[in-house]
Structure formats: C-alpha cells, structure tokens
C-alpha cells in the first residue's frame, strides 16, 4: 500500500534538478527526497492518515493519535525525533502585531529566523515574510523591490516594509476554502490543517497580502536544522501539495514566547502581544502611535499594524 520505497527511483528531470539543488545547499543525503506526500510508515498509519478527520472534528484521542503519527512520519522522512504538540489557545488572548517601519533596516533577519523556526522547506523555497524595499516618498507596493541585495542596508533613499500574514479578523482566505481546511482560532490566528487541505489554492488567490504559500514539492529540511518543537497547526513538517502560512509561531506564542521573527529582529521594530490586555505593549502602540494597516480599504481587518516615529 505504501509506495514510498520505489518512487524515489522515478528519476524524472525534476528529481535530478532537486538533487542538484540539495547538493548545492550542502545536504548530502537525497534518499528521503522523493517520498510521496502521503507516505506513512505502515499500512495502519497510511490508512489512518487517509481517513483522518479534520482537526476541529477530531476527539482528543484522535488528535493524540494524529500527533504520534506525525512524529513517526517525521522520524521516517527526516530521521529526526520531533515533538508535535497541540497547545490550545489561551483564554482571553487575541494576538496583534505591530512593526515600526522607521526602525526596520531591511536586514531580513526575521525572514531567515522564520525559515529555521518553522521548518520551511529549503527545497520548496517558501518564506513567510517578505521585506520590501521602497523609495522614500513612495508607498506603492508595485514599485517595491523584493530581491534587493546591496552591500549594506539600509540603502540611502530607501525604506523597508516587512510583510507577512496579517491574521485578518475577517480573513478572505478562510471564506475561500471549499473544505474548511483553514480557519481562525479563538486567539485570532488563522491556521491551516495541512492534513485536510486539498490544495486547490483558492485561498492564495483570495489573500491580498500574498501570505499563503504552496508546497509545490515535498519540503526538504536538513535533519540537523529541524526544529523539533512543533505544533499540529504550526511548524510540523508539511506534506506536499498543501497550502501553508505564517501562524504567529503558534507553538511559541501560545506558551508566552515571542514569535521567532520578533526575537530575531535586531532593531526592536517588532511589537507583539495580547490585544485584549489594555496594559499590553501592542495596545500602547495602538493608542499612542499613528498606526496604519496595509490595504485596510479591503475590509479584512488585519491584526497587523505599521507605524513610524
């Protein structure tokens, strides 16, 4: 039933390109590369994976079993023992994020910290955060440079705008999904059940912030760089053919830690916290700074603000 053992030798042109790529980033083993996305370890696991219910309909025991399967699969695919949890939302907490764009220098430290923290496929080349470089006096995103690579940043005459999932309060992506594989959690994080998504990518068309990304191939993560602290709705290794997105580091933030991008930011541009707590840092920013939201006119109510001072 599980056909993972032989498909690695398919040897398409693509396989070759992928191997070369992997070699390029110094990953010696390509053995685990071409396993099918639904490759479970055993017949039982494959069967249970296939008939797994969606996250919100699973009982506690079923979730527990699913978590264990995820751990077994990660062990099989990446040779790493991960800890996959299902930390629940804290009551009375809704997350909000703010970025001080006059502080941001465009280092992209957040981008790369996110890639590591969230086990983003080095092969599939997904990044949740884009830092846009814009001319001073210009805020038209169509004039932005995503691929700036000067000797040093900030470049004179430019300013920087990091963009990631805004965790909209009225998320168009959630409305778009035909199978309810994506939804907003009680703490305001828009999550994806990677085991329920059918990969139609309608949510990607619906998102005004280009926050949703697709696993065009099996995400490859070097074993030694795997973050073993994972969450079902967050940074656990993803299968191929499904959509994923920034989840405010759900495995960290639900335990009171900062998101990885915030921790990595050397300039302190990023401010994160509980919108329901009037004494929180985020609420101070909203009350005392001139904040704005990107594409607010679309009415999606982003929980992500920008300000400058």
């Amino acid at each position: 039933m599980s056909n993972e053992s032989n498909s690695g030798n398919g040897g398409g042109k693509f396989d070759q390109a992928r191997r070369n790529f992997l070699r390029g980033i110094g990953l010696g083993t390509a053995a685990a590369v071409a396993q099918p996305a639904w490759g479970g370890q055993t017949f039982q696991d494959t069967f249970a994976d296939f008939f797994q219910k969606d996250y919100r309909r699973m009982s506690a025991e079923e979730i527990e079993a699913a978590l264990e399967r995820i751990e077994r699969k990660a062990e099989a695919r990446y040779g790493v023992e991960i800890d996959c949890q299902n930390t629940l939302p804290q009551p009375g907490v809704v997350y909000g994020y703010a970025i001080n764009i006059s502080r941001c220098k465009g280092y992209r430290d957040c981008v790369h910290a996110c890639v590591k923290e969230n086990n983003l496929g080095r092969d599939s080349q997904v990044q949740y955060i884009r830092v846009l470089q814009l001319d001073q006096g210009d805020f038209n995103l169509e004039h932005s440079d995503h691929y700036y690579e000067p000797e040093t940043v900030p470049v004179e005459g430019k300013h920087y705008l990091p963009v990631q999932c805004m965790q909209c309060d009225d998320p168009p992506c959630v409305k778009a999904c035909p199978v309810e594989a994506t939804w907003m959690e009680p703490d305001g994080i828009v999550v994806v059940d990677y085991d329920w998504c059918i990969g139609c990518r309608y949510c990607m068309a619906a998102c005004p912030y280009w926050a949703r990304h697709f696993n065009w191939t099996v995400p490859e993560i070097p074993a030694e760089e795997m973050n073993t602290n994972t969450h079902y709705l967050g940074n656990r290794p993803r299968p191929r053919g499904v959509v994923e997105k920034c989840h405010f580091c759900i495995h960290r933030t639900r335990k009171g830690q900062q998101p990885a991008c915030m921790e990595a930011c050397p300039t302190g541009s990023r401010i994160f916290g509980n919108l329901l707590d009037p004494d929180s840092e985020i609420r101070y920013v909203l009350a005392n700074k001139q904040v704005f939201r990107l594409k607010e006119d679309l009415g999606t109510e982003p929980k992500f603000w920008y300000f400058s001072d």
């Binding site: 790529f21 080349q125 001319d135 700036y148 000067p150 040093t152 302190g268 509980n274």
Partner: protein, 200 residues
C-alpha cells in the same frame, strides 16, 4: 453626587502624594531611584555592567585628578564623541567624582545597569516608549516576566546611530523556476523628473 465625592477624594489623595514626593528630596550620594511612568507594566532590565570593558572605571580614575575641562582625549577612550555632535561632553553623562557611576543632567548618580535613566534625560519620548514597550527590545517573552534590554545594549552611547550592515540573502524562487531580471519599472520620483528637466 457620588462621583463628586469620589473626585474630591482623588484630588486630596493626589495632593498628599505630591507633597510627599516634594518632601523626599533626592539624596545625591545615593543612586537615583526613578519611579517610572504610571501605568507601565513592571519590568527588569538586563544587566549591562558585565558587558562593559572599562567597568569599573573608578579603578583607573582613582589615581587621576578629576579634570572637568573640555579637551581632546588622547587616552584609551574614544577620541571622538559622535553623540550630540559637539553639544555634549563626557561629563554630561559620566560622573566626575565617581567613575563607577553615570549622572543625570541634575548631577544625580546613576548605576551603569540603569543607564536608561541618563538617556531618558534628553530622549524623554523614546524613554517613555521604551518603558511601555513601543521602543527597544523585550527578551524572549510576550507574556509573563518582562525583561528589557537597556538602551546601551543596542546603541553605542558614544556613537548611537545603528551602523549599516549586509542584509541576509534575498528570497529564492520555487525550485525549478528561474527569476528573470526585469527592467526597473517604477517611475522616478517627481523631484527627479523636475531636476532632469532643469538640467536640460
């Protein structure tokens, strides 16, 4: 009716508090204890002294005569103070008598771990933002213990501007695809066009 009584009570209490504060004259021999901004959540500051190369500065300066004269330093310290561009001098922040302490504009002693109190003397808005979390950096948590990095963790007090550095690599594109280089498609700024026009 009730609210008027309540207001009166609040007035009285605040008056009493103000008087008490006035009577507590600062003791210049003790490090200043800044009470902070009302409403800011509790926090601790990451100690700074461990990271300071010259601390405690008193060991060297013990043997020297305190010299308040503004001059070019030709010792081991930074010869140039970029901070303030000539409007401040070492002793604007460092205590003349006791080199193990900083001092405020009012000549109050400040511990090196509390250096934000010195910075806040001039940069009051930033200082307040830092207190409330809109400026600076909090350590690891958004919830629970609130530990803040000090101003001087990020800003060199003698040269406070953050220096430019190389960015991390640009984003890749999906495996198997290549990004074609486009032409610069953004319009030049209005003033660029104007300047070109004038040149012609």
């Amino acid at each position: 009716m009730n609210s008027i009584i309540l207001q009166c009570m609040v007035c009285v209490i605040s008056l009493v508090a103000l008087q008490a504060a006035a009577q507590e004259s600062p003791d210049s021999s003790q490090p200043l204890r800044f009470e902070g901004y009302p409403g800011a959540s509790e926090f601790t500051v990451v100690p700074r002294k461990d990271g300071l190369f010259f601390y405690p500065g008193g060991q060297c300066h013990e043997a020297m005569e305190p010299n308040p004269e503004i001059r070019t330093l030709n010792t081991m310290h930074d010869a140039e103070i970029e901070h303030g561009r000539g409007r401040i001098w070492c002793l604007s922040c460092h205590n003349l008598e006791d080199r193990n302490y900083l001092n405020t504009l009012l000549n109050e002693l400040v511990d090196f771990d509390e250096s934000h109190l010195v910075c806040g003397g001039c940069h009051a808005n930033r200082h307040k933002d830092w207190y409330f979390g809109a400026h600076g950096k909090r350590v690891s948590n958004w919830q629970g213990d609130r530990t803040l990095y000090n101003c001087t963790h990020c800003h060199n007090p003698h040269k406070p501007a953050i220096e430019a550095r190389a960015p991390k690599p640009a984003p890749p594109v999906r495996a198997g695809l290549k990004r074609e280089q486009g032409t610069e498609h953004h319009k030049s700024s209005i003033w660029d066009a104007k300047e070109e026009h004038e040149e012609q």
